[in-house]
Symmetry: C2
Subunit: 84 residues, 2 copies
């Protein structure tokens, strides 16, 4: 496998899975006071655009990476609203 392919295969899951510990932390601490609403809303909007972009391009890596990141961030937003 080429170096560039390995790089891409390592990069995509890292940026996606980063929000899993954030989701679990918010779930456990029942607090997301320090997480910015504007960050979550802008990020969720951007991820939705990336998802539509991926669907248009029929690019499975773009669709998968953005679906998971979108899912984690929607849960973080829901937890933030719930525990405010």
């Amino acid at each position: 496998m080429e170096f560039i392919t390995i790089l891409g295969l390592l990069a995509a899951p890292s940026t996606t899975s980063a929000f899993l510990p954030q989701m679990l932390k918010t779930w456990q601490s029942k607090s997301a006071k320090d997480v910015s609403y504007l960050m979550l809303i802008t990020f969720i909007s951007g991820l939705s655009l990336w998802l539509i972009y991926g669907i248009y391009l029929k690019s499975l890596p773009i669709i998968l990476a953005n679906s998971f990141t979108l899912f984690f961030n929607l849960i973080i937003l829901w937890l933030k609203i719930r525990y405010r």
Copy 2:
């Protein structure tokens, strides 16, 4: 301009600029207790890999988007360490 190009041009700045309000919020509140260290470290590692990927591919959009997101998240990490 094609619809798909407009989508991409809207998507990239949204996911990048999302971390600007988070950075400003952390700066002002002097607290990032609810922001996960593991999220920041995993995200920063992933963004670094994306940046190297972009440099290898000579893709200016990948380089620019990931440089800014990386910069904002390094500042958030630094603020979290400083204000802990």
